[in-house]
C-alpha cells in the first residue's frame, strides 16, 4: 500500500481565480484524452515521414515530389485536428457514468470551461506550431538529401497568423458544439458552419437584390472603391469578432447549466 501523502490544495476555496485549480483542470483534460491525443500526434508525425520514406524507396526521382511546399497542408491538418480535439473535449459530461465526476469536481463551471478553451485553443496552437516546426526540420533534412532547397516553417508569417485566427473563430463554435450536442458534435458543428455560411451567402444575395431593386437603375455601387473595401473589411472583422465572442460565451453559459444525463 502506498502511504505517501497527497498534497492538498491549500488555497481558499471561495477565491474567484485560482491558478492551481485551472492547472488541475488542464491536467484533468490531458489525462482524460491522453490516449487519443497521443495517437493523433503519432499519426500526424509518422504519416508524412512514412510518405517521405515511401517516395525515397519507390520513386526513381524523389526530388520532383520533394519540391512541393507543404505549409498549407500542415495548417489544414492543424485546423481539422484541433477542431476534432475540441469536439471531443467534453465527451465525459455527456455520459451519465462520467458526467457526475467532472461536474462535481471542485472547480467552478467557468474554470472548467475556460481551461478547456485554453488547452484546445492557445496551448494546442503552441504545441501544434512546435510540432510543425519540428516536422519541417525533419522533412527539410530529407529534402537536403536530394539537393532540394527548403525553408523552415515560420509560425510568425501573416499566412500562419491568419490561419490561427480562423482556427480560433471556428474553435469557439466547435467548443460550444462540444457542450451543446451529446454526440457527433464535430459533425453537427460542421453542419452548423455550413448552414451559417450558406445563410450568410443567401442573406448577402438577397440584400444585394433588395438594394438593386430600391436604387435607381443608373446608380452603380463600386465595390472596389477604398470606401466600400475598408467598410466591408471592418464589417467582416466585426462579424467574425461577434461570432467568436457569441459562441465562446454561449458555450460557457451552456456549460454552467449542464445537468447530468439520466
Amino acid at each position: 500500500m502506498n502511504t505517501t501523502t497527497t498534497k492538498s490544495a491549500t488555497e481558499p476555496n471561495r477565491s474567484l481565480f485560482s491558478i492551481r485549480r485551472i492547472l488541475l483542470m488542464l491536467r484533468h483534460y490531458a489525462l482524460l484524452h491522453r490516449t487519443s491525443w497521443l495517437i493523433g500526434l503519432l499519426v500526424i508525425v509518422l504519416v508524412p515521414i512514412t510518405i517521405m520514406l515511401l517516395i525515397i524507396i519507390f520513386v526513381s526521382d524523389p526530388s520532383v515530389f520533394m519540391n512541393n511546399q507543404s505549409k498549407s497542408g500542415w495548417l489544414t491538418i492543424y485546423t481539422i485536428a484541433g477542431l476534432l480535439l475540441t469536439s471531443n473535449l467534453f465527451i465525459d459530461i455527456h455520459k451519465p457514468g462520467q458526467s457526475w465526476f467532472t461536474l462535481t469536481l471542485p472547480a467552478s463551471p467557468g474554470k472548467k470551461y475556460w481551461s478547456a478553451w485554453l488547452i484546445s485553443g492557445p496551448i494546442y496552437t503552441i504545441v501544434a506550431m512546435l510540432v510543425i516546426f519540428g516536422l519541417s526540420i525533419i522533412t527539410g533534412l530529407f529534402r537536403t538529401v536530394f539537393d532540394v532547397s527548403f525553408t523552415l516553417f515560420n509560425p510568425f508569417t501573416s499566412e500562419v497568423m491568419r490561419q490561427i485566427m480562423i482556427y480560433h473563430i471556428f474553435h469557439a463554435l466547435f467548443l460550444w458544439g462540444a457542450v451543446w450536442w451529446n454526440k457527433l458534435s464535430f459533425l453537427y458543428s460542421l453542419l452548423l458552419v455550413v448552414a451559417i455560411l450558406a445563410s450568410g451567402v443567401l442573406l448577402i444575395f438577397l440584400s444585394v437584390q433588395a438594394i438593386e431593386f430600391i436604387l435607381p437603375d443608373n446608380y452603380l455601387i463600386d465595390l472596389g472603391s477604398p470606401f466600400y473595401e475598408s467598410g466591408l473589411r471592418i464589417a467582416t472583422s466585426l462579424l467574425w469578432l461577434f461570432s467568436w465572442l457569441f459562441f465562446l460565451f454561449w458555450g460557457a453559459d451552456c456549460y454552467a447549466r449542464k445537468e447530468r444525463l439520466s
Binding site: 492538498s8 476555496n13 488541475l24 458526467s99 461536474l103 471542485p106 467552478s108 445537468e259
Partner: protein, 291 residues
C-alpha cells in the same frame, strides 16, 4: 446544512404539447442536519437517485432551491463542491491506476487525507497499482467510497453503496461508516438493502411518489413506536398502526403511549412498508408522542 425548499422537478419529455408529464417532485422540502447518517428509502422509481442528484447539484429544480451551507447548489461553487461528495450507483472511472487517480484528483479537495484513504483502502483490501477500469464493479465502488470518506467533505451522498459489494465488504463498509469521523458531517445513504445498514442509520427519510412520507430520527421512532411480533388474535393487533403476517403470528407497529414498553429495535423493513401503506396513521402516532 442542506436545505431543499419547495422544489418542483420533472424530467423533460418530448410530448408535442399533447400530454403533460407529471412532475416527479412537487413542492418537496427536506432539511439535512449535521452529525447524522440518513437512510433514504423508497420504492423503485420513487426518485431517490434523482433527489441525490439534486442534492449534489447535478440536476437543477424547475423551481424552489437546494441550498448547501448558504450557497445554492445550482452555482456549483468550488466551496460547495469541495465540501460535498456524491458516490453514484452507476459510474465509470478513468483508465488510470489508483495512485494516478489520487495524485490527480485528491488535490481538488482541500481537506483530502491520504492517511484516511489508505486506512479505508486497507480495510477494503484495495490495490492502487491496477488500472481502475480493470477492477470489478464492487472494487470500483470500494475505491470510490474510500475516496469519498477521504475527501473530508461534510456531506456524503451515497447511492446504493452496498450494491455490488461482497458479504465481507458490506461488513467492512459498516465498519468504515462507524469509524468515520462524523463530527460536523452527514451521510445520506440511499439503499434498497435495508438490513445491510439498519444499525448504521440514525435518521430515516422515506420517499414515495415524489413525496417524503416519513422524515424522522431513529431515536424519535424508538420513543414513539413499538415494533413487536404478536401471536394471532392478540388484542393489540386491532389497535396497531400496521401489521404484516409472518410465520407464527404478526409483525406489528404499535404506539408506545408514553410509557416504556418492551419492544424490538426499529424494524426498518416493517417501518418502510408502514410508511408506504399507512403514512397518515404512522405520522400521526409519531407526532402525538412528540407533542
Amino acid at each position: 446544512m442542506l436545505h431543499i425548499n419547495s422544489i418542483n422537478f420533472g424530467f423533460p419529455v418530448l410530448n408535442l404539447g399533447l400530454f403533460k408529464k407529471p412532475l416527479l417532485f412537487e413542492n418537496l422540502s427536506v432539511n439535512i442536519e449535521q452529525n447524522k447518517v440518513y437512510g433514504l428509502f423508497g420504492l423503485n422509481g420513487a426518485g431517490k437517485t434523482t433527489l441525490l442528484n439534486l442534492m449534489a447539484g447535478l440536476l437543477f429544480p424547475k423551481s424552489g432551491s437546494c441550498v448547501f451551507k448558504g450557497v445554492s447548489l445550482q452555482e456549483r461553487a468550488p466551496s460547495s463542491l469541495d465540501d460535498l461528495f456524491f458516490v453514484p450507483d452507476q459510474f465509470d472511472l478513468m483508465a488510470v491506476r489508483g495512485n494516478d487517480f489520487l495524485n490527480q484528483y485528491a488535490p481538488f479537495y482541500s481537506r483530502f487525507s491520504r492517511e484516511e484513504f489508505d486506512r479505508i483502502a486497507g480495510l477494503f483490501d484495495l490495490s492502487l497499482e491496477e488500472k481502475l477500469t480493470h477492477l470489478s464493479y464492487g472494487q470500483k465502488k470500494k475505491f470510490l467510497i474510500a475516496f469519498a470518506f477521504a475527501t473530508g467533505a461534510s456531506l456524503l451522498l451515497l447511492d446504493e453503496p452496498t450494491n455490488g459489494l461482497d458479504i465481507p465488504s458490506k461488513s467492512q463498509f459498516r465498519k468504515v461508516l462507524a469509524s468515520a469521523d462524523l463530527v460536523n458531517r452527514s451521510v445520506i445513504i440511499s439503499t434498497h438493502q435495508v438490513r445491510d445498514l439498519a444499525q448504521s442509520i440514525d435518521h430515516t427519510l422515506i420517499l414515495d411518489k415524489g413525496n417524503i412520507v416519513l422524515d424522522s430520527s431513529i431515536s424519535t421512532l424508538s420513543e414513539s413506536l413499538a415494533f413487536k411480533t404478536l401471536p394471532d388474535s392478540h388484542p393489540d393487533l386491532t389497535k396497531c398502526i400496521y401489521s404484516e403476517q409472518v410465520l407464527g403470528g404478526y409483525k406489528a407497529i404499535t404506539t408506545k403511549n408514553g410509557h416504556a414498553d418492551m419492544s424490538d429495535p426499529v424494524d426498518l423493513e416493517l417501518l418502510f412498508n408502514a410508511a408506504i401503506n399507512e403514512q397518515v396513521k404512522l405520522n400521526e402516532a409519531i407526532l402525538e408522542v412528540q407533542v
